[in-house]
Every structure is written in structure tokens, then in C-alpha cells.
């Protein structure tokens, strides 16, 4: 029996082992593997970055590279055929927006262990997703 029959489950992947572990969990919760949507969020590049200055890097090439790397990683871990989306911007915000756009029933996100100071200074993507998402968010502790 599945918790969320025929509902989209969004899983943000940042290439960490924790994120792929979250994908495993999400796979168990989703009714079907096709309900799983993977989202990878790339930071916006600074206009002053050497790659942008010299026009050797652009969002399209980054999207292609990231998508290719993600598909390869997923295949290696036995997750073929899952929809992958690459977005640009603040991870917390983009994940929540994507979940809303796809009318997701659940977001499954891993929480990285951070030191108190780092947490205070940088904050956590999982926390922002919880705050911004329209749907339930399952946060998996490390």
C-alpha cells in the first residue's frame, strides 16, 4: 500500500549520498516510479565570473552538463527512467515552486548535518522547502 496514490513526489537531488537515499525512500512511498520527479537546482552565475565574462559558460551548457551527469549517476544507482528537471536559482525557493507547478503531493528532502554555526549563517535548504512548499514535506534526517 502506498501513502500517496498517483501523486507526484518531488525529490531534490544535490548529488549527495543523502539525497539519493531520499530518492530510495521516495520510491517506496510513491505509487509508481513515474510519479517521481527529480529536481536539481543550479545556482545563478555571477555576471563577473570568468566563464561568463569570456562567454565560455552559459546556462544551456550548464543545464546539459548537469542533466547528463545526473542521468549517469541515476543509471549507476539503478534509477533509470525518472523525470529529471534542472532549474536555476535559490534551491529552497525553486524546489517549492516546482512542487507547486507539478501539483506535487509530497516533497522528500534529505537534511544534511550541519554545525550550529554553519546552520546559523547559511541556513538549510530543507528548512526553506518546509517553509515555502504548498504540500507536505518529508525531511529525512542524516
Amino acid at each position: 500500500m502506498h501513502w500517496l496514490p498517483r501523486k507526484t513526489v518531488v525529490v531534490p537531488i544535490d548529488f549527495s549520498d543523502d539525497a539519493f537515499a531520499a530518492l530510495e525512500t521516495a520510491g517506496e512511498l510513491a505509487a509508481d516510479r513515474t510519479d517521481l520527479h527529480i529536481v536539481h537546482v543550479l545556482p545563478l552565475m555571477e555576471p563577473t565570473d570568468p566563464g561568463i565574462i569570456w562567454a565560455t559558460v552559459d546556462d544551456e551548457s550548464r543545464r546539459e552538463n548537469a542533466s547528463e551527469a545526473l542521468h549517469k549517476e541515476l543509471a549507476d544507482r539503478g534509477f533509470d527512467g525518472i523525470e529529471v528537471v534542472i532549474r536555476f536559482g535559490d534551491p529552497g525557493h525553486e524546489i517549492a515552486t516546482y512542487a507547486k507547478e507539478t501539483k506535487a503531493g509530497l516533497v522528500v528532502v534529505s537534511s544534511h548535518g550541519q554545525t550550529a554555526l554553519r546552520h546559523l549563517l547559511i541556513g538549510s535548504v530543507a528548512e526553506r522547502v518546509v517553509r515555502l512548499a504548498h504540500c507536505p514535506v518529508l525531511v529525512l534526517k542524516q
Binding site: P50, I53, W54
Partner: protein
């Protein structure tokens, strides 16, 4: 000439001379006394008293050397107590000639140390550069020609990991390093320390090539390659990852790396506000106001225009302007060098004499050992400020180069101080010396108007000639700010995450405007403090990791010499 460097006096924040020693550009008195309104003065006083002075005490600690390292006895010394400010005529107070090194003011009894200050950070930079030169077997000399071939693209491979070619990475790094330090800083160094300062600047540039090689190699070795193909690196990465890699089983070494990385990032953010921003604004303003008199009345307008121009790039995201500004830097360098060569040719008969003055001034100043040290400190400091060798900033840009061979980028990077200091700073220095403007305009030296001195040197050729300099100065200042905002933003993101980078950018713009308000004295002191202090964590980390660099270097050099690596044009 007298070499009086009272920056070194304990109450350095209280007298005018420190500014002089550090080569800041001023117009400061003009600004505060004659033109600036009260609010501008308030901001300046607050900035100097609560930000610059306390930091100077710690970061420029000099072992109290002004109290025991003697220089030439001066005829007249101004009391270090700002409220007193009495002129102490040494011949009158000590007619016997037994002038002590620490003078006691007959009026307020305050002590004024007249010796030479040798700040720890300058010793640190010098010892670091000598150490890397020896440790890497004079890499600054032996890899020079190979470096030129690398820049020409002889070994470029578009399939390799990274974002930009060797040449592009070097040009990006140079756009940050070549700025007003090369134009104003050198002029002030010559004005205050005499032609000998140029010698020490060049020497610092040559050995600084090894520091640059070491830090940029590390930056490549420990850069982070993201799945989207972009790379990020710099001291905040290699200090942490490198030291962890050095002793994986030692929590202590790992923590040290983490702390050094954070300290570096904090200082780099500060340096981007100072030397990478406000310093550029105040210096370029002082040069340009010669040709645009309206800026004399409204200096803040220049700050606002600059803030707008920087803002549309770093916040507005207009990439084309940033790209044009940076790409034009190599061209502007060539224009600047050709122009200074033209000035030298118009004074052809004096070139030999100028070189003589440089060597003579470096080794035989009238002020004895203290004087030599004074000129040395001045030259080294201005060189490090200009080429940033040992400071670690350029390593952030060099991490982006496309290569699988970290040593290659290190070699390319080592040419940076050569171009910046050995070529461009020497050109400025020679132009100042042959035109003798530093002696013809002592008032400019006294007010530390370095850029204005260079303008005068240009004016000797023709009235229209300084306009070339105005354009160069504004472009150098602008491109330096754009590049340094990138360094600062990277470090800010390292500390606080990318989400808050807008906060950083807004503060950066505030400093652009501050550059046109705060006196040059405080700005240069703040800039010097931040930029030079970056060398503390950076050189310590790089020195600890120097064994790993040497290992890589030996392996690379063996393969290079064996002919195993073919240039791509032979492939």
C-alpha cells in the same frame, strides 16, 4: 633625501604622515577642510577612529620597531599628539646632537617614536616569497618561457575541465590586480622613498612570482568541479581541503584549515570593500578631478556614477559591460606601457641616469640601515598591494582555467606579478623619475597625490597627454572593482551562502560611494590592512602544503622536459 616614515610611530592614526608612507592618495585635506560638508567629515572620522585605527594596531603590529630601529635624525618632527601637534625642532631641543629615538614633546610630554616601522605582515610576505622561490627551485625564473607558451595557447585543450583558457584566466586575474596601485601607488612610493623604492618593488615582484605560482597551483589542485561543468576554487577551498588532505587523520590540522579558510574569506570580503573598491574610487577620482574640475565641488557625484555603473553589472546582471571592461584590460595595459615608453623616449638621455638612481637609492640612502629598511618596507608593501602575490586573491580567478595540470596554471599565474610589477610598475616609476615630477611637485608628495603626480609626468609630453591617463585610470579602476566584487562575493558566499549575496553587493556599492567621501588616508590604510592581512592565513597554509606542490611540480617538470607533453600545434 629624508626618509621619514612615521606610519610607524605608535600613534600613527594621529598624524598625517602614515598616510604618506602608505602611499595613499589624498586630496584628503582638501576634501575634508575645504569642500566636504560636515556629514562627510563625520563619516570619515568614524571610519578612521573606530574601524581603521583598532585594526591597524593588531594587523600591522611591528614589534614596536619605531622605538628601537633608528633611521636618520630629522630636523623637525611633529608631535604625535594630534591635539598638541607642536613642531619639535631637534637642533633646538638637543643642541648637543644626542637626539633620542623616542622624542618627548616639551609641551604636552607625549612620546613620538621616530624610528622605522617594519610591520610583521611585510616581513611575512617577504619571507614567504623567498621561501617559495627556494622551495620551488626558482620556478619564477625557470618556467618563464614555458609560461609564455602556455599563455599563447600552445598547450590549450578545449576538452579539459574548467571554464576559460589560460590566457583568459590570466586576463581576468590581471583585471583585478592592475589598477590604481600601479599608477598612484608607485608614484607615492617614489615620492616618499625615492627612486630606490622601485628596486624593492621589482624585487618583490620577481620573488612574488613564486608565491603566486604556489597559491594558484593549489587553487587548481583543490578546486571544486560542479556537475554542471563550472568550477570554484581559491584559498577558502584549498586551505580547508588541502590541510585536511595533508593529514586526514588529524582533527587538529583539519580544524586549522577550516579556521584559516574562514579568516581568509573574512579578510577577502573586507579587502574587496577597501583595495578592490573604495581605494580605486578615491584614487581615480583624484586623477580625474584634474581634468574634470566639476568633480572638485561634487566628489560624491563621481562615487554615485561609479556605484551606478558597478551596480548595473553586479546587481543588474548586465554581462556585456563587465565583459567589455575586463577584456579591454590587456589592451589598456599595452596602451599604458606604450605611452610611458613614449615619455621615456622624450627623456631618452635620462634613462641611464634613472636606473642609476634606482640602484643607488635602494642601497645607499643617507639614512643608513633604518633608511634602507624604510624604503624596502615601502617598496614591498606597495608591490604586494599592487600584484597581490602571497595574498591569495588571484587564486580565485585562476581556479577557473581549463586544464588537468594544476602546475600549468600556477606557471601562467606567476607571470601576473611580472606583468603587473616588473613591467607596469617599473614603467610608472621610470616615468616619474625621468620627469622628476616628485621633486618638482613636493606639495603633491606631501599630500600623497600619487595619481596626480603621474598625471604631471604625462603632462610633460603635452597638455593632451594626461587624457590618455584619465581614460586608463577610470577603466582600470572600474575593471578592478568588477573583478574584486567577484572575489568578495565568492568569499561572502563561502561564509554566508549564495542566498545573501545581494547583501554583499549592496555593501559593496556603499563602499563605492564611501570611496568618494572618506579621506584617501583612511581608505588606503583600511585597504592595506585587509589586503595584506590576507597573506597571514594564505601564506601559512600554502607553506604547509608546499611539499605537495613541489611533488606535483617535479612530476610535471620531468614530463615536460622529457618531451612527453607535446604542444597542441605539433599534435
Amino acid at each position: 633625501m629624508l626618509v621619514w616614515l612615521p606610519a610607524m610611530a605608535p600613534c600613527q592614526e594621529d598624524n598625517q604622515a602614515p598616510a604618506a608612507e602608505q602611499g595613499l592618495e589624498a586630496g584628503s585635506e582638501d576634501k575634508t577642510a575645504d569642500e566636504a560638508s560636515d556629514w562627510q567629515t563625520d563619516i570619515d572620522v568614524f571610519f578612521g577612529k573606530y574601524l581603521v585605527a583598532p585594526m591597524a594596531k593588531v594587523l600591522f603590529f611591528d614589534f614596536w620597531s619605531p622605538r628601537w630601529l633608528r633611521t636618520e635624525i630629522l630636523d623637525e618632527v611633529v608631535c604625535s599628539n594630534e591635539k598638541c601637534g607642536r613642531k619639535i625642532v631637534t637642533a633646538e631641543e638637543w643642541p648637543e646632537g644626542d637626539v633620542p629615538i623616542v622624542l618627548v614633546c616639551p609641551e604636552c610630554q607625549s612620546e613620538t617614536a621616530t624610528g622605522i616601522s617594519v610591520p610583521l605582515v611585510v616581513v611575512w610576505l617577504f619571507v614567504g616569497a623567498v621561501f617559495f622561490t627556494l622551495r620551488m627551485g626558482f620556478i619564477n625564473v625557470r618556467s618563464f618561457l614555458h609560461g609564455v607558451r602556455l599563455i599563447r595557447g600552445d598547450y590549450d585543450d578545449p576538452e579539459e575541465t574548467g571554464e576559460v583558457s589560460h590566457f583568459q584566466a590570466l586576463a581576468s586575474a590581471l583585471s583585478a590586480t592592475i589598477g590604481l596601485g600601479n599608477i598612484a601607488g608607485v608614484a607615492i612610493a617614489v615620492g616618499l622613498g625615492g627612486p630606490g623604492a622601485v628596486f624593492w618593488m621589482v624585487l618583490a615582484g620577481v620573488i612574488g612570482m613564486s608565491s603566486k605560482f604556489a597559491e594558484c597551483t593549489l587553487s587548481q589542485m583543490y578546486r571544486k568541479v560542479s556537475p554542471d561543468g563550472t568550477v570554484s576554487g581559491g584559498p577558502m577551498h584549498y586551505l580547508h581541503a588541502g590541510l585536511k588532505d595533508l593529514r586526514p587523520d588529524s582533527a587538529w590540522v583539519g580544524s586549522l584549515g577550516r579556521i584559516l579558510a574562514v579568516v581568509f574569506a573574512v579578510l577577502c570580503v573586507g579587502a574587496s570593500f577597501g583595495g578592490g573598491c573604495a581605494f580605486q574610487v578615491v584614487q581615480s577620482l583624484n586623477a580625474v578631478r584634474e581634468g574634470v574640475p566639476v568633480l572638485d565641488d561634487y566628489p560624491w557625484a563621481y562615487g554615485l556614477i561609479m556605484a551606478f555603473m558597478v551596480g548595473i553589472v553586479i546587481i543588474g546582471g548586465i554581462r556585456r559591460i563587465a565583459a567589455t571592461a575586463e577584456k579591454i584590460v590587456p589592451l589598456m595595459c599595452c596602451v599604458y606601457v606604450v605611452t610611458t615608453i613614449y615619455i621615456l623616449l622624450t627623456h631618452f638621455s635620462l634613462i641611464g641616469w634613472a636606473f642609476g638612481q634606482i640602484f643607488e637609492g635602494a642601497f645607499t640612502p643617507e639614512a643608513g640601515l633604518g633608511g634602507i629598511l624604510g624604503v624596502m618596507v615601502l617598496g614591498m608593501k606597495r608591490a604586494a598591494f599592487s600584484n597581490e602575490a602571497g595574498v591569495g586573491s588571484a587564486a580565485i580567478a585562476h581556479a577557473a582555467a581549463k586544464t588537468e595540470e594544476p602546475i600549468r596554471e600556477g606557471i601562467v599565474a606567476s607571470l601576473g606579478p611580472f606583468i603587473d610589477t616588473v613591467v607596469i610598475c617599473t614603467m610608472t616609476g621610470l616615468a616619474i623619475i625621468v620627469t622628476d615630477v616628485h621633486n618638482l611637485h613636493p606639495e603633491m608628495v606631501a599630500k600623497n597625490e600619487g595619481a596626480a603626480l603621474t598625471v604631471e609626468a604625462f603632462r610633460t609630453v603635452g597638455d593632451w597627454f594626461p587624457y590618455i591617463l584619465y581614460v586608463a585610470v577610470v577603466l582600470f579602476a572600474y575593471s578592478t572593482m568588477i573583478s574584486w566584487s567577484y572575489y568578495g562575493e565568492r568569499c561572502w558566499s563561502h561564509l554566508f551562502g549564495a542566498r545573501t549575496s545581494l547583501v554583499y553587493k549592496l555593501i559593496f556599492l556603499v563602499f563605492v560611494v564611501l570611496g568618494s567621501i572618506v579621506t584617501a588616508r583612511n581608505i588606503l590604510e583600511f585597504s592595506d590592512l585587509m589586503i595584506l592581512a590576507m597573506a597571514f592565513p594564505n601564506i601559512l597554509g600554502v607553506a604547509l602544503l608546499s611539499g605537495k606542490i613541489r611533488e606535483r611540480l617535479d612530476d610535471y617538470w620531468k614530463r615536460y622536459k622529457s618531451g612527453e607533453m607535446e604542444p597542441n600545434r605539433n599534435r
